[in-house]
């Protein structure tokens, strides 16, 4: 019973939050609603016994991602309202509702498979974090490391793209201009 109440409560809350995120015209509202929605999602993780995931969700999303977005927003000065033409909102809404309806239509029928073989079963008696750690560092070690590399890539990409060197474009400059710029640069460095 508790589970049901919690499920419905958080379902409605997340849905509303996310809905606000995608519809509001205030960027600040959207950001806040997104953050709230993500926290509510972590609630599902806790309900489902995925404690580790819940914690990661809160830390990574609400902590890191939201912080990043917040910085971005400050940079972009998007507190002012952004005029969005919604000429084809009908198509937009229609498509998303349709997709939901179709999938739901299928999901209301129960899955009948009986041949499922679990590859990484929960380990009896271990806490969620323990078992996650167990799996993560055996079977999923390669993806885990790769994810690390991916984060490195993302970091490099972020730095490079936002870096100062991007301010002038060698691509568009004639060879002479580049020379002059390099000279100037060298002087500054000296």
């Amino acid at each position: 019973m508790f589970e049901a109440i919690a499920f419905y409560l958080f379902s409605i809350l997340t849905a509303v939050m996310f809905y606000i995120t995608v519809t509001t015209k205030q960027a600040l509202f959207a950001l806040t609603a997104l953050a709230a929605g993500m926290i509510f999602i972590s609630a599902f993780f806790f309900i489902l016994g995925a404690d580790f995931l819940g914690v990661v969700q809160i830390i990574v999303y609400t902590g890191a991602v939201m912080a990043l977005y917040a910085f971005g927003m400050m940079f972009f000065d998007t507190t002012r309202e952004l005029k969005e033409r919604s000429g084809s909102s009908l198509i937009t809404a229609g498509l998303s509702i349709l997709s939901a309806v179709f999938v739901v239509l299928i999901f209301v029928a129960p899955i009948v498979s009986t041949k499922i073989q679990v590859t990484a079963p929960l380990i009896a008696g271990a806490t969620n974090s323990q078992s996650v750690g167990m799996v993560l560092f055996t079977k999923y070690l390669v993806p885990f490391e790769l994810a690390a590399v991916m984060l490195l890539v993302a970091m490099i990409a972020g730095i490079v793209l936002a870096g100062k060197k991007m301010d002038r474009s060698l691509t568009l400059m004639a060879e002479e201009e580049i020379m002059i710029a390099e000279e100037a640069n060298r002087k500054v460095l000296l």
Binding site: V103, Q117, M150, I156, A157, L170, T171
Partner: protein, 502 residues
Amino acid sequence: MLSHVNISLESLNIATLVPMLIPIMGALFILVLDLFKKDQSKSMYVMLSLLFVMLDFGSLIDFSIDFSTNGTILGYFDMMLIDGLALLGQFIIVGASILFIPLALTSKRFHEFSYPEFFALFLFMISGFQFMVATDNLILIFIGLEMASLALYTLIALHNRSKSFEAAVKYFTMGALAAGFFAFGSMVLYALTGSVEIHQMAAVFNADEFANLPFILVGVVFLLAALGFKVSLVPFHTWAPDVYEGASASMAGYMSIVPKIAGFVVVMRMFEFLIHSGVVWLNVVLYVIVVVTMTAANIWALVQSDVKRMLAYSSISHAGFVMAAVLIGTTQANSALFLYWILFTFTNLGAFSMLWISRQKNLAAGQSSDHSYNKFAGLIKVAPISATIMALFMLSLAGLPPFALFWGKIYMISAAVSSGYIVLALIMALNSAIAAYYYLKLIIYMFMKEPEIDIDNKVYTMNSSVALRTIIGIAVIGTVFASVVLNSLIEFITAFVYNSGY
């Protein structure tokens, strides 16, 4: 309580990671090098990257020898899967990268190559694609895909001009959506099978005799959308022309080959068993998608006024053509896919390199885009060799014998014919005819028109350098003399594909 896990190191088969690790190491090496010693010449980075990639290639050769004697190699809790498909895919990925890297050595300076990070990211990307093809675990596929994609977005943006940002943002946004689709599709299939490994899924489906067909189809649809985005099938292709146009020509050429072959390998792993298990729906849908992709892209290519955009659409069309192999699903078809793509690599990369070599920094008066058709008008008079080489690539793309793509084409059509897809074969053939028109258009501009824009002769070989000319030379040789190595190529590919069970 948790018990200790005892795993012998041999059973992990860590060696399977070597081909992917080489570029990662290379990337880290470059980053570290940059930390210690700033402002190195780009040529050094180019050669370093080239070395690493060639090393990678060497390791692949090693693996392929291993594969042909011992068969499929599994590694790391079955996470890694080195079978024929993986090897062939990696060969193309790494091989195309070898051909691509020297293209950085242009005589004019472009922004991206001034970053050591460019080369690091490039190597990371290769590794990402390699992971993507060398596993049948959806998680690893996903991470490899994302890693490669994120690097790719950056590489495009680093070209640093308005259009390349636009291209990168568009690509990125759509990529994010596609990632959502991929995740959702994986979730559905996971819900059905309790596994994220493709062979496992296949086992479960077959055991159930596809009892949950509607569910399966939902999963398949989302995966199809995600992978269709990657290999640019209509209607998930919309990113392609804009991104190709925004990216530098060399990068566009690279994009038309490497991400797609990675995508095709995944597609093949994912859909081949479904096709063979008699899911009629998938047959029909793929049939339609293949035909629409070929035809629609061709039709749009007809009306382009920019050569690079035309080549973008043509690449989409070629992707559709190759996608037919997945639909046909015989060993011959799957071999044809790889054969086609290898030959396509030479030709298409060559064509894009020809554009790259002629890329000027600022548009001349009367020129509407970087590589507009009228820029090439009367090229035969100004630069006869360039014109001839370009024409060669165009003819090859059009499937004119005896140039490279012709052989891929007949092998593919033969595969279609041999498994009863006569109508499909005809459609493929007729599409080649439509395609011939726009390739011909460029030839006509080059050979039969008078120069329209007053540009300096040097424009056409503005970026020319020994490295670029070498690459183009290799592409020319590959295009013209494809028939010489064709037999061994076919035998090699067929053996690999067949031994992987496709």
